[in-house]
Amino acid sequence: MERSFVAKNPSVLVFLTILSLFALGVTVLSEGFGIGVISTSFVKTLGKTLCLCLIAVAMDLVWGFTGILSLGHFAFFGLGGYMIGMWLMYERTRLIVVESLSQADIPPTPAEVVDAIGTQIFGVVGSSEFPLIWAFSHSLTLQLILVVVVPGLLALIFGWLAFRSRVTGVYLSILTQAMTLALALYLFQNDSGLRGNNGLSGLQNLPGVTVSQDVVSLWFLWASALALGLGYMLAAWIVSGKFGSVLRGIRDNEARVRFLGYSVEAYKLAVFTLTACIAAIAGALYYPQAGIINPEEMAPIASIYLAVWVAIGGRGRLYGAVIGAAFVSLLSTWFTGGQAPDIPLGFYTIKWVDWWQVLLGVSFVLVTLFAPQGIGGLFDLYTNQRHPDRHGANLGPDEGALREKEASL
């Protein structure tokens, strides 16, 4: 009766196989270890894309499965990036400072070293003092813990306040937007302690590592692939059992779940916080590959893009989220990178750099209207999955409930 986890979820095995083959393929084709067909900057793009796929998995858990349309998960992604960025910047600056001070006649005192680091890092915002939030930045271990703890705690407090007041639907979405906007605006200030709109930079240089970026980029690609694989397995395991049943129940009909004796608020809070932690880990892997992080990354639009990826990929199925994030973000790179050929119409030339967002917006509308299952729905065509005929009725009364066309039998 009870079959193993993999047997019940064949998509996990397929996914992990494809992911491993992808990482292996990129390695073979890379400049660092392979034949040099793929440039290092493109390896970084691919690695970053894997991180975006990971946060899309988190978004699918919270939106596709639980029905909470969070438009703030990039706040957690960004915070994770800031946490790892603080150590990267501190440690690298320290090495440079120690190197330059060692030329002096008198060896510097530890206090002098710290002062010099502070001047280096915060000179750009007219300060040289270390703010309190940098207290642990000297320790990689502590900052790695903070990668999960800081966004997790923010999600826990925010979620507790929002869910216990039974804020749902569109109001919750607005609230999450307000949260990420408030955080971004706060970090834009120079005295927020994180270098204002300059953000943290030079994150691609790992302190104490002398090998070239050709190799480092592959390390991060592997780490991102590993994180995505583990995150995917965790998410698949969570939604496969009774916990997943409860989440889907909350999405479609929250009141009914409550009358079954489940504390809906506790479940929502657990999922919201867990997905915030996954998003933060994705961010901590993303920004060392991007090299720079600034508050602009937490602007509400980023989190809206996230919802668009999951919608285009097909919500409520984990591989859909991954496909949507990979497809749309790579396509976006292609269009905005100026590689897409312009289309001359005679009277006007369509430049994709300008028109890509319009194209994305239109396809988002078209997908939600005509193919609500998204790209993931193509797999149903292949496996001949049928869809319920409910005469247009949703699968539950709640706003997040699955629509008729999104569901499969």
């Binding site: 009774k242 049943s245 009141a255 009914r256 409550r258 506790a266 319920p388 039998l409």
Partner: protein, 246 residues
Amino acid sequence: MSTLLEVSGVSVTFDGFRAINNLSFQIGEAELRSVIGPNGAGKTTFMDIITGKTRPDEGRVIWGEKSVSLLDMTEAKIAQAGIGRKFQKPTVFEDQSVRDNLLMALKKNRGWVGVLLYRPSTSDLQKVEDLATEIGLYQELSRKSGELSHGQKQWLEIGMLLAQDPRLLLVDEPAAGMTPQEREHTTDLLVQAAKTRAVVVVEHDMEFVRRLNCKVTVLHEGSVLAEGSLDHVTSNQDVIDVYLGR
């Protein structure tokens, strides 16, 4: 017979409209009771109050041997204490199989950590199969419940309530939209359930109430108008005036 639930002097007002007016109601263990009344008599609000969805302005709702007040408890806590509720419209989780629906309802630890680590044991699956047999859905266990017919969904919801193993079952118009055969099956299920627990059935259909053959409470304008056997209340002049006479 000891009292399982005691509602006394409860009133609730929505925007100046008094939906429930000084309502008192008692039910013992293993008792079957019908609640009837015209539209707007407060039947659904009455259930909302017991299950914690609506907070009354005044009055008391006392539960069980320990006489705990239900008024300070959340819906989930009240459900855990042993009150199950069936809605008027069949509300099952349509995106999930009949088996998953029943497993979710099965009386088990409701905490999220426990649920996360939970994997159904052989005896749990056996219980689910027995329940499915009882409600006539054994053949449909692996089907998505959204595919079921209206009557089957009603039974699945009753099955989910039985899986919860509540001490008090509140059932809102269970026979609505059912064929005569389906009604008969539903009557059997409810009468059977009432042998081991208290069951309150809110119903419009007199024929259905007659078949349940139990004590009847008539609600009107938010309070109890009459109480007794069906023959007793249907011969009551007040009841005839406000309800049957129309």
